[in-house]
Subunit: 260 residues, 2 copies
């Protein structure tokens, strides 16, 4: 049998997101980067399998990064690449990879031009933002210029959401995705405990689809959203139809989509 | 020298938060539980040092829980304790502790009374929510009745934010806090790169205080919030005064608090 006869089954590409920053762990800042990154990656066939929030502590960043970069296809970090003393991510990443960190000539030029144009002083602290681990390549930052960087399978981005978002856009074409996860959502005014047993049977009939049950409350009404996720759209449609039939069986009038 | 002469230094009590659920990793749900839990715990002297978002996969929950419960004083989990097939947290926690999981008589009674009062069917799926690992104690849920539980240093709570919040309130008096972290925020219209070098010197003079720098953008204005965190309020006030003086040196008119 030739290779060409093997079934075409797109591979699964996985990622871990590391949110680096004391401000998220203290509760001061509510993170919005994870949901944005996960949604963005999902569209290009990269599945986020784990996320961690860790403090601005070098040994923690080094150990965590070395653990997760071995386990997942890609690692995306946010936070800690600014000009101040608490911005230690670039140094920690260099340490994790066992390489030196040096001023990157192109980054120095971009930042120098930026501060010349805006009248800001290109001082030593701002020069720190042009330091990249040896062997890293820049991730463009059209917004505030200070670049992120890629080294190996690790992508280091800013923590400020709008800067992180333009960096993620800059990665277009640099990430290789696999199977794209699609989803269907079925919502109905029925308690999840009411349909639970039969929903488990739907799950058992569709082992390649992940079925999640999410109760919701809207004032005096309540109900359940069932989210089906998988890579085969017609299989998803069949399973979603079974969930709709199941909800009707218990007196609900289900609809596709999230609760209104 | 007697023990009484030793300096009174409150101990540090640490915690890890595990957010369990595919819906957070897919980007469908933006988590709000971490910031709430971190803020709540901070007030009673428990410092969240790490958080992880992990999928509804038993072996992942077991391995992660056993890793972090050994490393931190407390572990708080959210998600996966409902009636449906994807609610596997209680079973995974029992497995992590190497104990059986059984119907807890008091939980069965609470849920039975609840469904009798509301007219819902107390079926087998809903009975699952009364299953607790052996040796666990209930965490009350005045809102929707199905309890969370504590086993060892692990607190297992619901994922629905308002249910999680009443469970956290139910824990009042059961958690032993240590030193309470306090904070001061100083905000001024100055670039963080401008003050970075001297801010590093303020940090060096106050090694017991954590100083974080957070740039912000508001339309055409921008600036920096400096957050100082520590357990000694007068030391915090002194360091905050130095940060205000530093911002004035660079022409800003700083104020205490977040950007307006």
């Amino acid at each position: 049998m030739s290779d060409a006869a093997a079934p075409l089954r797109p591979k699964t590409v996985t990622a871990c997101v590391l949110l680096i920053g004391d401000e998220i762990l203290s509760g001061r800042t509510r993170d919005s980067n994870l949901a944005y990154i996960a949604t963005h990656l999902n569209r290009i066939g990269v599945q986020v399998r784990e996320a961690r929030v860790i403090p601005d502590v070098e040994e923690t960043i080094v150990a965590t990064l070395n653990e997760v970069r071995a386990r997942y296809d890609y690692v995306f970090t946010t936070g800690g690449i600014g000009p101040t003393h608490d911005d230690i991510t670039a140094d920690a990443v260099a340490k994790a990879f066992g390489v030196a960190i040096t001023h990157h000539p192109e980054a120095v030029k971009i930042l120098g031009d930026h501060y010349k144009a805006t009248g800001g002083e290109f001082n030593e602290a701002r020069m720190r933002m042009a330091r990249l681990p040896e062997g890293a390549s820049m991730i463009d930052n059209p917004l505030s210029k200070a670049p992120g960087f890629q080294i190996g399978n690790v992508f280091v981005m800013a923590g400020v959401p709008m800067v992180m978002q333009v960096m993620l856009d800059s990665l277009t074409g640099r990430l290789e995705g696999g199977a794209t996860m699609q989803s269907r959502t079925v919502t109905g005014q029925v308690g999840e405990g009411t349909i639970a047993e039969k929903l488990g049977q739907v799950q058992a009939r569709h082992p390649d689809i992940g079925i999640g049950s999410y109760p919701y409350y809207r004032g005096k009404t309540f109900g359940t959203s069932i989210v089906l996720r998988g890579t085969d759209s017609s299989a998803l449609d069949r399973a979603a139809a079974e969930v709709m039939a199941l909800m009707r069986e218990f007196g609900a009038e289900p609809a596709m989509g999230d609760p209104a």
